[in-house]
Protein backbone atom coordinates (compact mmCIF):
# COMPACT_ATOMS: atom_id res chain seq x y z
CA UNK A 1 0.00 0.00 0.00
CA UNK A 2 1.93 2.96 -1.26
CA UNK A 3 1.12 6.60 -0.84
CA UNK A 4 0.23 6.75 -4.52
CA UNK A 5 -2.56 4.20 -4.44
CA UNK A 6 -3.86 5.68 -1.24
CA UNK A 7 -4.16 9.13 -2.73
CA UNK A 8 -6.21 7.61 -5.54
CA UNK A 9 -8.53 6.09 -3.04
CA UNK A 10 -9.16 9.40 -1.32
CA UNK A 11 -10.18 10.91 -4.64
CA UNK A 12 -12.24 7.82 -5.25
CA UNK A 13 -13.77 8.16 -1.82
CA UNK A 14 -15.03 11.64 -2.58
CA UNK A 15 -16.28 10.36 -5.90
CA UNK A 16 -18.12 7.54 -4.24
CA UNK A 17 -19.74 9.82 -1.70
CA UNK A 18 -20.98 12.13 -4.44
CA UNK A 19 -21.47 10.07 -7.58
CA UNK A 20 -21.89 6.48 -6.34
CA UNK A 21 -20.00 3.65 -7.96
CA UNK A 22 -18.79 4.96 -11.31
CA UNK A 23 -15.39 6.47 -10.43
CA UNK A 24 -14.44 3.33 -8.51
CA UNK A 25 -14.93 1.04 -11.45
CA UNK A 26 -12.86 3.31 -13.71
CA UNK A 27 -9.96 3.22 -11.32
CA UNK A 28 -10.35 -0.51 -10.92
CA UNK A 29 -9.83 -0.79 -14.66
CA UNK A 30 -6.50 1.00 -14.30
CA UNK A 31 -5.19 -0.61 -11.16
CA UNK A 32 -5.48 -3.99 -9.55
CA UNK A 33 -8.54 -5.97 -8.60
CA UNK A 34 -7.61 -5.48 -4.94
CA UNK A 35 -8.85 -1.96 -5.19
CA UNK A 36 -12.18 -3.18 -6.42
CA UNK A 37 -12.65 -6.02 -3.97
CA UNK A 38 -11.22 -4.50 -0.82
CA UNK A 39 -11.26 -0.76 -1.03
CA UNK A 40 -14.47 -0.06 -2.88
CA UNK A 41 -16.65 -2.13 -0.53
CA UNK A 42 -14.89 -0.46 2.36
CA UNK A 43 -15.61 2.99 1.02
CA UNK A 44 -19.21 2.10 0.28
CA UNK A 45 -19.58 0.65 3.75
CA UNK A 46 -18.20 3.89 5.17
CA UNK A 47 -20.69 5.89 3.11
CA UNK A 48 -23.60 3.75 4.25
CA UNK A 49 -22.63 3.50 7.91
CA UNK A 50 -21.92 7.23 8.05
CA UNK A 51 -25.26 8.05 6.45
CA UNK A 52 -27.22 5.71 8.71
CA UNK A 53 -25.54 6.80 11.95
CA UNK A 54 -25.92 10.49 11.19
CA UNK A 55 -29.53 10.31 10.02
CA UNK A 56 -30.62 8.16 12.97
CA UNK A 57 -28.82 10.65 15.21
CA UNK A 58 -30.82 13.49 13.67
CA UNK A 59 -34.06 11.57 14.13
CA UNK A 60 -33.33 10.72 17.77
CA UNK A 61 -32.41 14.31 18.59
CA UNK A 62 -35.75 15.41 17.17
CA UNK A 63 -37.69 12.68 18.92
CA UNK A 64 -36.12 13.42 22.30
CA UNK A 65 -36.26 17.19 21.68
CA UNK A 66 -32.68 17.25 22.86
CA UNK A 67 -29.89 18.35 20.55
CA UNK A 68 -27.49 16.25 22.59
CA UNK A 69 -29.41 12.99 22.22
CA UNK A 70 -27.73 10.19 20.36
CA UNK A 71 -28.69 6.69 19.21
CA UNK A 72 -26.50 5.32 21.96
CA UNK A 73 -28.82 7.00 24.48
CA UNK A 74 -31.62 4.57 23.77
CA UNK A 75 -29.29 1.71 24.54
CA UNK A 76 -28.57 0.36 21.08
CA UNK A 77 -24.83 0.88 21.08
CA UNK A 78 -24.40 -0.42 24.61
CA UNK A 79 -26.45 -3.53 23.94
CA UNK A 80 -24.68 -4.10 20.66
CA UNK A 81 -21.24 -3.91 22.24
CA UNK A 82 -22.21 -6.41 24.94
CA UNK A 83 -23.58 -8.72 22.28
CA UNK A 84 -20.38 -8.51 20.31
CA UNK A 85 -18.07 -8.96 23.30
CA UNK A 86 -20.10 -11.93 24.41
CA UNK A 87 -19.70 -13.53 21.02
CA UNK A 88 -15.96 -12.87 21.01
CA UNK A 89 -15.52 -14.41 24.46
CA UNK A 90 -17.91 -17.34 24.05
CA UNK A 91 -17.09 -18.32 20.52
CA UNK A 92 -13.37 -17.61 20.92
CA UNK A 93 -11.54 -19.17 18.02
CA UNK A 94 -14.70 -19.73 16.04
CA UNK A 95 -15.02 -16.00 15.62
CA UNK A 96 -11.89 -15.97 13.50
CA UNK A 97 -13.39 -18.37 11.00
CA UNK A 98 -16.74 -16.66 11.42
CA UNK A 99 -15.15 -13.44 10.19
CA UNK A 100 -14.86 -15.02 6.77
CA UNK A 101 -18.57 -15.21 6.42
CA UNK A 102 -20.30 -12.04 5.30
CA UNK A 103 -22.21 -11.48 8.45
CA UNK A 104 -19.91 -12.71 11.17
CA UNK A 105 -20.93 -14.06 14.54
CA UNK A 106 -19.80 -10.86 16.20
CA UNK A 107 -22.02 -8.84 13.94
CA UNK A 108 -25.01 -11.04 14.69
CA UNK A 109 -24.32 -10.77 18.42
CA UNK A 110 -24.11 -6.99 18.19
CA UNK A 111 -27.32 -6.75 16.25
CA UNK A 112 -29.26 -8.96 18.64
CA UNK A 113 -27.78 -7.20 21.69
CA UNK A 114 -28.64 -3.79 20.29
CA UNK A 115 -32.17 -4.71 19.45
CA UNK A 116 -32.77 -6.37 22.81
CA UNK A 117 -31.46 -3.36 24.70
CA UNK A 118 -33.66 -1.00 22.72
CA UNK A 119 -36.72 -3.13 23.33
CA UNK A 120 -35.96 -3.23 27.04
CA UNK A 121 -35.56 0.53 27.28
CA UNK A 122 -38.70 1.08 25.25
CA UNK A 123 -40.71 -1.29 27.46
CA UNK A 124 -39.43 0.40 30.61
CA UNK A 125 -40.44 3.81 29.33
CA UNK A 126 -43.83 2.85 27.92
CA UNK A 127 -46.82 2.76 30.20
CA UNK A 128 -50.54 2.94 29.61
CA UNK A 129 -50.45 6.65 28.87
CA UNK A 130 -47.62 6.59 26.33
CA UNK A 131 -43.85 6.63 26.06
CA UNK A 132 -42.13 9.03 28.40
CA UNK A 133 -39.09 10.58 26.82
CA UNK A 134 -37.52 11.41 30.16
CA UNK A 135 -37.88 7.87 31.46
CA UNK A 136 -36.53 6.56 28.21
CA UNK A 137 -33.42 8.75 28.39
CA UNK A 138 -32.82 7.68 31.99
CA UNK A 139 -33.45 4.03 31.16
CA UNK A 140 -31.10 4.35 28.20
CA UNK A 141 -28.39 5.73 30.46
CA UNK A 142 -28.97 2.93 32.98
CA UNK A 143 -28.80 0.27 30.28
CA UNK A 144 -25.67 1.95 28.96
CA UNK A 145 -24.05 1.73 32.40
CA UNK A 146 -25.11 -1.89 32.75
CA UNK A 147 -23.72 -2.64 29.31
CA UNK A 148 -20.45 -0.95 30.27
CA UNK A 149 -20.19 -3.09 33.39
CA UNK A 150 -20.96 -6.29 31.48
CA UNK A 151 -18.37 -5.31 28.92
CA UNK A 152 -15.73 -4.77 31.58
CA UNK A 153 -16.66 -8.09 33.13
CA UNK A 154 -16.30 -9.85 29.80
CA UNK A 155 -13.00 -8.12 29.14
CA UNK A 156 -11.78 -9.21 32.57
CA UNK A 157 -12.43 -12.86 31.74
CA UNK A 158 -11.17 -12.64 28.18
CA UNK A 159 -7.67 -13.74 27.23
CA UNK A 160 -5.20 -11.40 25.57
CA UNK A 161 -6.22 -12.21 22.05
CA UNK A 162 -9.93 -11.75 22.72
CA UNK A 163 -9.23 -8.59 24.65
CA UNK A 164 -7.51 -7.10 21.67
CA UNK A 165 -10.39 -8.09 19.43
CA UNK A 166 -12.96 -6.59 21.79
CA UNK A 167 -11.16 -3.32 22.13
CA UNK A 168 -10.45 -3.07 18.41
CA UNK A 169 -14.09 -3.69 17.68
CA UNK A 170 -15.16 -1.10 20.22
CA UNK A 171 -13.00 1.48 18.51
CA UNK A 172 -14.88 0.96 15.29
CA UNK A 173 -13.28 -0.62 12.30
CA UNK A 174 -14.29 -0.74 8.68
CA UNK A 175 -11.37 -2.88 7.52
CA UNK A 176 -13.39 -6.09 7.31
CA UNK A 177 -15.72 -4.72 4.64
CA UNK A 178 -17.05 -7.09 2.04
CA UNK A 179 -19.70 -6.97 -0.64
CA UNK A 180 -22.02 -9.03 1.56
CA UNK A 181 -21.78 -6.44 4.32
CA UNK A 182 -22.23 -3.63 1.85
CA UNK A 183 -25.43 -5.13 0.50
CA UNK A 184 -26.92 -5.69 3.96
CA UNK A 185 -25.97 -2.18 5.02
CA UNK A 186 -27.23 -0.80 1.72
CA UNK A 187 -30.60 -2.43 2.22
CA UNK A 188 -30.91 -1.00 5.74
CA UNK A 189 -29.82 2.45 4.57
CA UNK A 190 -32.36 2.33 1.77
CA UNK A 191 -35.19 1.42 4.15
CA UNK A 192 -34.21 4.24 6.49
CA UNK A 193 -33.77 6.89 3.85
CA UNK A 194 -37.11 6.01 2.27
CA UNK A 195 -39.01 5.91 5.56
CA UNK A 196 -37.52 8.87 7.42
CA UNK A 197 -38.71 11.64 5.06
CA UNK A 198 -42.33 10.52 5.62
CA UNK A 199 -42.03 11.40 9.26
CA UNK A 200 -40.07 14.62 8.92
CA UNK A 201 -43.13 16.87 9.36
CA UNK A 202 -44.12 14.81 12.37
CA UNK A 203 -40.64 15.29 13.81
CA UNK A 204 -40.89 19.04 13.25
CA UNK A 205 -44.21 19.09 15.09
CA UNK A 206 -42.78 16.95 17.88
CA UNK A 207 -40.21 19.68 18.60
CA UNK A 208 -43.16 21.74 19.92
CA UNK A 209 -43.94 19.02 22.46
CA UNK A 210 -45.89 15.79 22.29
CA UNK A 211 -49.35 17.10 23.08
CA UNK A 212 -48.88 19.97 20.62
CA UNK A 213 -47.92 17.46 17.95
CA UNK A 214 -51.03 15.48 18.79
CA UNK A 215 -53.14 18.62 18.39
CA UNK A 216 -51.56 19.06 14.97
CA UNK A 217 -53.02 15.75 13.92
CA UNK A 218 -50.01 13.51 14.45
CA UNK A 219 -50.36 10.02 15.80
CA UNK A 220 -47.46 10.56 18.18
CA UNK A 221 -47.36 7.06 19.65
CA UNK A 222 -47.17 5.42 16.26
CA UNK A 223 -44.55 7.79 14.91
CA UNK A 224 -42.41 7.26 17.98
CA UNK A 225 -42.64 3.49 17.81
CA UNK A 226 -41.81 3.48 14.11
CA UNK A 227 -38.82 5.78 14.46
CA UNK A 228 -37.43 3.91 17.44
CA UNK A 229 -37.62 0.57 15.65
CA UNK A 230 -36.01 2.03 12.53
CA UNK A 231 -33.24 3.58 14.61
CA UNK A 232 -32.59 0.34 16.46
CA UNK A 233 -32.38 -1.43 13.13
CA UNK A 234 -30.07 1.16 11.59
CA UNK A 235 -27.73 1.57 14.53
CA UNK A 236 -27.76 -2.12 15.42
CA UNK A 237 -26.74 -3.17 11.93
CA UNK A 238 -24.17 -0.37 11.67
CA UNK A 239 -22.58 -1.31 14.97
CA UNK A 240 -22.75 -4.95 14.00
CA UNK A 241 -20.91 -4.43 10.73
CA UNK A 242 -18.54 -1.61 11.56
CA UNK A 243 -18.10 -1.69 15.33
CA UNK A 244 -18.54 1.29 17.59
CA UNK A 245 -18.00 4.26 15.34
CA UNK A 246 -18.81 6.98 17.81
CA UNK A 247 -19.36 10.68 17.39
CA UNK A 248 -21.01 10.61 13.94
CA UNK A 249 -24.55 10.22 15.26
CA UNK A 250 -24.12 12.83 17.96
CA UNK A 251 -22.29 15.63 16.28
CA UNK A 252 -23.11 15.49 12.57
CA UNK A 253 -26.81 16.36 13.07
CA UNK A 254 -25.83 19.07 15.49
CA UNK A 255 -23.34 20.56 13.03
CA UNK A 256 -25.83 20.33 10.17
CA UNK A 257 -28.47 22.00 12.33
CA UNK A 258 -26.13 24.88 13.07
CA UNK A 259 -25.63 25.29 9.32
CA UNK A 260 -29.13 24.83 7.87
CA UNK A 261 -31.58 24.97 10.80
CA UNK A 262 -33.73 22.35 12.52
CA UNK A 263 -36.26 21.58 9.74
CA UNK A 264 -36.18 17.77 9.52
CA UNK A 265 -37.18 17.75 5.87
CA UNK A 266 -33.64 18.98 5.15
CA UNK A 267 -31.86 18.03 8.34
CA UNK A 268 -32.21 14.25 7.94
CA UNK A 269 -30.95 13.91 4.34
CA UNK A 270 -28.22 16.52 4.83
CA UNK A 271 -27.06 14.73 7.98
CA UNK A 272 -26.94 11.47 6.05
CA UNK A 273 -24.78 13.11 3.38
CA UNK A 274 -22.48 14.81 5.88
CA UNK A 275 -22.16 11.61 7.92
CA UNK A 276 -21.21 9.68 4.80
CA UNK A 277 -18.56 12.26 3.88
CA UNK A 278 -17.11 12.41 7.39
CA UNK A 279 -16.84 8.66 7.68
CA UNK A 280 -15.26 8.22 4.25
CA UNK A 281 -12.69 10.93 4.95
CA UNK A 282 -12.02 9.53 8.41
CA UNK A 283 -11.65 6.00 7.12
CA UNK A 284 -9.36 7.10 4.30
CA UNK A 285 -7.17 8.92 6.79
CA UNK A 286 -7.28 5.92 9.10
CA UNK A 287 -5.64 3.92 6.33
CA UNK A 288 -2.80 6.35 5.66
CA UNK A 289 -1.77 8.19 8.82
CA UNK A 290 0.26 5.38 10.35
CA UNK A 291 1.46 3.57 7.21
CA UNK A 292 1.94 0.69 6.79
CA UNK A 293 -0.45 -0.07 9.68
CA UNK A 294 -4.03 1.16 10.04
CA UNK A 295 -5.85 3.03 12.77
CA UNK A 296 -9.38 2.05 13.86
CA UNK A 297 -11.83 4.39 12.17
CA UNK A 298 -13.70 5.34 15.33
CA UNK A 299 -10.62 7.11 16.68
CA UNK A 300 -10.35 9.17 13.53
CA UNK A 301 -14.01 10.22 13.47
CA UNK A 302 -13.65 11.66 16.94
CA UNK A 303 -10.30 13.26 16.16
CA UNK A 304 -11.71 14.88 13.02
CA UNK A 305 -15.16 15.81 14.22
CA UNK A 306 -14.50 17.13 17.70
CA UNK A 307 -12.33 20.12 16.71
CA UNK A 308 -14.74 20.99 13.92
CA UNK A 309 -17.62 20.91 16.37
CA UNK A 310 -15.76 23.04 18.89
CA UNK A 311 -14.93 25.55 16.16
CA UNK A 312 -18.60 25.77 15.21
CA UNK A 313 -19.63 26.27 18.81
CA UNK A 314 -17.11 29.08 19.18
CA UNK A 315 -18.33 30.72 16.01
CA UNK A 316 -21.93 30.41 17.17
CA UNK A 317 -21.05 32.05 20.46
CA UNK A 318 -19.49 34.99 18.68
CA UNK A 319 -22.57 35.51 16.54
CA UNK A 320 -25.07 35.52 19.38
Amino acid sequence: MTVGTVSISIAEAFGAAVAAVLPGSEIAGQTQVILFDIRLPRILLAVLVGAVLASTGAVMQGLFRNPLADPSLIGVSGGASVGASLMIVLAGGAVESGMLMGLSLVAAGAFVGGFAATLLVYRLATSGIGTSVTTMLLAGIAIGALAGALNSLLSYFADNDMLRQISLWQMGNLSAASWAKVSIMGLVALILLVRFPRDSSALNALLLGESEARHLGIDVQRVKRRLIVLTALGVGVSVALAGMVGFVGLVIPHVVRLLIGPDHRWLVPCSALAGAILLVVADSLARVVVLPAELPTGILTALLGAPFFIALLLQQRREV
Partner: protein, 257 residues
Protein backbone atom coordinates in the same frame (compact mmCIF):
# COMPACT_ATOMS: atom_id res chain seq x y z
CA UNK B 1 -72.69 21.69 16.38
CA UNK B 2 -70.62 22.15 19.46
CA UNK B 3 -67.67 21.18 21.57
CA UNK B 4 -69.43 19.73 24.56
CA UNK B 5 -68.42 18.26 27.90
CA UNK B 6 -71.09 16.25 29.68
CA UNK B 7 -70.86 15.26 33.33
CA UNK B 8 -67.10 15.13 33.27
CA UNK B 9 -65.31 13.79 36.31
CA UNK B 10 -61.57 13.50 36.41
CA UNK B 11 -59.80 11.49 39.04
CA UNK B 12 -56.00 11.56 38.89
CA UNK B 13 -53.56 10.01 41.38
CA UNK B 14 -56.02 10.14 44.27
CA UNK B 15 -57.40 13.61 43.62
CA UNK B 16 -60.77 14.63 42.27
CA UNK B 17 -59.74 17.31 39.81
CA UNK B 18 -63.13 17.71 38.17
CA UNK B 19 -66.56 16.73 39.49
CA UNK B 20 -69.61 16.51 37.24
CA UNK B 21 -68.61 19.35 34.98
CA UNK B 22 -70.89 20.10 32.06
CA UNK B 23 -70.30 22.92 29.65
CA UNK B 24 -70.46 23.58 25.98
CA UNK B 25 -68.67 25.78 23.52
CA UNK B 26 -70.92 27.08 20.78
CA UNK B 27 -69.58 28.06 17.38
CA UNK B 28 -69.45 31.82 17.01
CA UNK B 29 -69.33 32.33 20.77
CA UNK B 30 -66.51 33.11 23.15
CA UNK B 31 -66.44 31.11 26.37
CA UNK B 32 -64.11 32.20 29.14
CA UNK B 33 -63.16 29.98 32.06
CA UNK B 34 -62.14 31.74 35.27
CA UNK B 35 -61.41 30.56 38.76
CA UNK B 36 -58.71 30.45 41.44
CA UNK B 37 -55.46 28.54 40.94
CA UNK B 38 -55.95 24.80 41.07
CA UNK B 39 -59.68 25.02 40.51
CA UNK B 40 -59.50 22.64 37.57
CA UNK B 41 -59.50 25.09 34.65
CA UNK B 42 -56.50 23.63 32.85
CA UNK B 43 -57.64 20.08 33.64
CA UNK B 44 -60.92 20.81 31.93
CA UNK B 45 -59.10 22.17 28.89
CA UNK B 46 -56.98 19.05 28.76
CA UNK B 47 -60.08 16.88 28.87
CA UNK B 48 -61.82 19.03 26.26
CA UNK B 49 -58.87 18.64 23.89
CA UNK B 50 -58.50 14.92 24.43
CA UNK B 51 -55.14 15.16 26.14
CA UNK B 52 -56.54 13.52 29.27
CA UNK B 53 -59.30 10.96 29.24
CA UNK B 54 -62.12 11.77 31.65
CA UNK B 55 -62.74 9.22 34.39
CA UNK B 56 -66.47 9.66 33.81
CA UNK B 57 -68.50 11.55 31.24
CA UNK B 58 -68.21 12.31 27.55
CA UNK B 59 -66.59 14.92 25.39
CA UNK B 60 -68.13 15.39 21.98
CA UNK B 61 -66.90 17.44 19.05
CA UNK B 62 -69.50 18.17 16.41
CA UNK B 63 -71.80 15.44 17.71
CA UNK B 64 -69.19 12.69 17.67
CA UNK B 65 -67.09 11.42 20.51
CA UNK B 66 -63.83 13.39 20.50
CA UNK B 67 -61.68 10.28 20.20
CA UNK B 68 -63.64 8.85 17.33
CA UNK B 69 -62.43 11.54 15.00
CA UNK B 70 -59.34 10.57 13.02
CA UNK B 71 -56.42 12.58 14.43
CA UNK B 72 -55.94 14.63 11.30
CA UNK B 73 -59.58 15.61 10.92
CA UNK B 74 -59.70 16.51 14.58
CA UNK B 75 -56.67 18.76 14.07
CA UNK B 76 -58.46 20.51 11.21
CA UNK B 77 -61.32 21.43 13.54
CA UNK B 78 -59.67 21.89 16.90
CA UNK B 79 -56.59 24.03 17.55
CA UNK B 80 -55.00 24.29 20.98
CA UNK B 81 -52.67 26.93 22.37
CA UNK B 82 -50.87 25.68 25.48
CA UNK B 83 -49.78 27.94 28.29
CA UNK B 84 -46.11 27.15 27.80
CA UNK B 85 -44.22 25.77 24.87
CA UNK B 86 -41.19 23.51 25.08
CA UNK B 87 -39.74 24.46 21.72
CA UNK B 88 -36.02 25.05 22.12
CA UNK B 89 -34.78 24.49 18.59
CA UNK B 90 -33.88 27.49 16.45
CA UNK B 91 -36.85 27.53 14.10
CA UNK B 92 -37.70 30.87 12.53
CA UNK B 93 -41.13 32.37 13.27
CA UNK B 94 -42.17 31.47 9.73
CA UNK B 95 -41.30 27.83 10.32
CA UNK B 96 -43.10 27.67 13.67
CA UNK B 97 -46.29 29.14 12.22
CA UNK B 98 -45.91 26.83 9.22
CA UNK B 99 -46.21 23.86 11.58
CA UNK B 100 -49.83 24.92 12.06
CA UNK B 101 -50.47 23.96 8.45
CA UNK B 102 -49.39 20.32 8.93
CA UNK B 103 -52.96 18.95 9.11
CA UNK B 104 -53.90 20.62 5.83
CA UNK B 105 -52.98 19.86 2.25
CA UNK B 106 -53.26 23.32 0.77
CA UNK B 107 -49.86 23.48 -0.90
CA UNK B 108 -46.70 25.41 -0.10
CA UNK B 109 -47.72 28.68 -1.73
CA UNK B 110 -51.07 28.96 0.02
CA UNK B 111 -49.47 27.94 3.30
CA UNK B 112 -46.79 30.63 3.00
CA UNK B 113 -49.50 33.21 2.37
CA UNK B 114 -51.48 32.08 5.43
CA UNK B 115 -48.34 32.08 7.58
CA UNK B 116 -47.54 35.66 6.57
CA UNK B 117 -51.12 36.80 7.21
CA UNK B 118 -51.29 35.07 10.59
CA UNK B 119 -48.02 36.67 11.70
CA UNK B 120 -49.26 40.09 10.57
CA UNK B 121 -52.50 39.61 12.46
CA UNK B 122 -50.70 39.04 15.76
CA UNK B 123 -48.35 41.97 15.14
CA UNK B 124 -45.33 39.73 14.60
CA UNK B 125 -44.54 40.18 10.94
CA UNK B 126 -41.20 41.72 11.92
CA UNK B 127 -40.27 38.38 13.52
CA UNK B 128 -40.62 36.31 10.34
CA UNK B 129 -36.96 35.44 9.90
CA UNK B 130 -35.97 35.69 13.56
CA UNK B 131 -35.09 32.61 15.57
CA UNK B 132 -37.73 31.50 18.03
CA UNK B 133 -35.08 30.74 20.63
CA UNK B 134 -33.95 34.36 20.61
CA UNK B 135 -37.38 35.95 21.08
CA UNK B 136 -38.84 37.44 24.26
CA UNK B 137 -41.59 35.60 26.11
CA UNK B 138 -44.33 37.78 24.65
CA UNK B 139 -42.96 37.43 21.13
CA UNK B 140 -42.82 33.64 21.48
CA UNK B 141 -46.40 33.52 22.67
CA UNK B 142 -47.54 35.69 19.76
CA UNK B 143 -45.80 33.39 17.31
CA UNK B 144 -47.49 30.39 18.96
CA UNK B 145 -50.82 32.21 18.73
CA UNK B 146 -50.18 32.78 15.03
CA UNK B 147 -49.46 29.05 14.71
CA UNK B 148 -52.85 27.99 16.09
CA UNK B 149 -54.56 30.70 14.05
CA UNK B 150 -52.89 29.33 10.91
CA UNK B 151 -54.21 25.89 11.87
CA UNK B 152 -57.84 27.05 11.64
CA UNK B 153 -57.28 29.88 9.14
CA UNK B 154 -59.62 28.47 6.52
CA UNK B 155 -63.07 27.09 7.34
CA UNK B 156 -63.23 23.32 7.52
CA UNK B 157 -65.67 21.25 5.49
CA UNK B 158 -65.96 18.50 8.08
CA UNK B 159 -67.51 20.64 10.79
CA UNK B 160 -67.37 23.74 12.95
CA UNK B 161 -63.99 24.83 14.21
CA UNK B 162 -62.90 25.43 17.77
CA UNK B 163 -59.97 27.21 19.32
CA UNK B 164 -58.79 26.41 22.83
CA UNK B 165 -56.51 28.94 24.53
CA UNK B 166 -54.88 28.43 27.92
CA UNK B 167 -54.16 31.85 29.39
CA UNK B 168 -53.39 33.44 26.03
CA UNK B 169 -52.76 36.89 27.49
CA UNK B 170 -50.48 35.92 30.38
CA UNK B 171 -47.24 36.98 28.68
CA UNK B 172 -48.63 40.04 26.89
CA UNK B 173 -48.43 43.76 27.47
CA UNK B 174 -51.63 45.83 27.50
CA UNK B 175 -51.69 46.46 23.77
CA UNK B 176 -51.23 42.81 22.88
CA UNK B 177 -53.82 41.68 25.43
CA UNK B 178 -56.23 43.97 23.65
CA UNK B 179 -55.13 42.66 20.28
CA UNK B 180 -55.60 39.03 21.35
CA UNK B 181 -59.15 39.67 22.50
CA UNK B 182 -59.91 41.51 19.25
CA UNK B 183 -58.63 38.52 17.29
CA UNK B 184 -60.75 36.20 19.42
CA UNK B 185 -63.85 38.29 18.68
CA UNK B 186 -63.04 38.30 14.95
CA UNK B 187 -62.74 34.51 14.99
CA UNK B 188 -66.08 34.20 16.77
CA UNK B 189 -67.64 36.50 14.18
CA UNK B 190 -66.36 34.06 11.55
CA UNK B 191 -68.12 31.19 13.31
CA UNK B 192 -65.27 29.70 15.31
CA UNK B 193 -66.09 28.59 18.84
CA UNK B 194 -63.44 29.92 21.24
CA UNK B 195 -62.83 28.70 24.76
CA UNK B 196 -60.10 30.20 26.90
CA UNK B 197 -58.82 30.27 30.42
CA UNK B 198 -58.33 33.83 31.66
CA UNK B 199 -57.21 35.20 34.99
CA UNK B 200 -58.27 38.79 34.50
CA UNK B 201 -62.00 38.94 35.29
CA UNK B 202 -62.36 42.27 33.51
CA UNK B 203 -60.83 40.94 30.31
CA UNK B 204 -63.09 37.92 30.56
CA UNK B 205 -66.18 40.05 31.19
CA UNK B 206 -65.39 42.28 28.25
CA UNK B 207 -64.71 39.57 25.74
CA UNK B 208 -66.80 36.52 26.65
CA UNK B 209 -70.35 35.65 25.74
CA UNK B 210 -70.35 32.85 28.23
CA UNK B 211 -68.46 32.88 31.49
CA UNK B 212 -67.73 29.68 33.40
CA UNK B 213 -66.56 30.11 36.99
CA UNK B 214 -64.69 27.17 38.47
CA UNK B 215 -64.12 26.44 42.10
CA UNK B 216 -62.65 23.26 43.56
CA UNK B 217 -63.31 21.14 40.47
CA UNK B 218 -66.93 22.23 40.28
CA UNK B 219 -68.68 24.77 38.13
CA UNK B 220 -69.66 27.49 40.58
CA UNK B 221 -71.63 29.49 38.03
CA UNK B 222 -71.98 29.88 34.31
CA UNK B 223 -73.81 32.20 31.98
CA UNK B 224 -73.56 35.72 30.61
CA UNK B 225 -70.91 37.79 32.44
CA UNK B 226 -73.52 40.34 33.52
CA UNK B 227 -75.44 37.66 35.39
CA UNK B 228 -72.56 35.60 36.69
CA UNK B 229 -70.27 38.26 38.08
CA UNK B 230 -71.67 39.31 41.43
CA UNK B 231 -69.96 40.60 44.54
CA UNK B 232 -71.19 37.58 46.44
CA UNK B 233 -69.75 35.10 43.91
CA UNK B 234 -66.35 36.78 43.85
CA UNK B 235 -66.21 36.71 47.63
CA UNK B 236 -67.30 33.08 47.71
CA UNK B 237 -64.97 31.79 44.96
CA UNK B 238 -61.90 34.02 45.20
CA UNK B 239 -62.24 35.18 48.79
CA UNK B 240 -61.86 38.78 47.69
CA UNK B 241 -64.15 41.70 48.56
CA UNK B 242 -64.90 43.43 45.31
CA UNK B 243 -67.34 45.90 43.86
CA UNK B 244 -69.07 45.42 40.55
CA UNK B 245 -69.46 48.56 38.46
CA UNK B 246 -70.38 49.08 34.85
CA UNK B 247 -67.94 50.04 32.15
CA UNK B 248 -68.93 53.56 31.07
CA UNK B 249 -68.69 52.74 27.34
CA UNK B 250 -69.40 49.02 26.90
CA UNK B 251 -71.69 48.66 29.90
CA UNK B 252 -69.95 45.37 30.69
CA UNK B 253 -69.36 44.45 34.34
CA UNK B 254 -66.22 45.90 35.83
CA UNK B 255 -64.70 44.25 38.87
CA UNK B 256 -63.05 46.73 41.21
CA UNK B 257 -60.99 45.35 44.05
Amino acid sequence: MTLRAENISLHLSGFDLLRNVSMQVEPGMVTAIVGPNGAGKSSLLRVLTGELAATKGDVTLNRHDLNHWPVEQKAQMLAVLPQHSLLNFPFTANEVVGLGRIPHQTGTLKDAEIVAQALTLVDAEYLQKRYYTQMSGGEKQRVQLARVLAQIWLPCETGDQFLVLDEPTAAFDLAHQQLTLDIVRQLAARGVGVVMVLHDLNLAARCADNLVVFDGGLVAAQGAPEQVLTEQLIDQVFGVKAMIARHPLTNKPLVIT
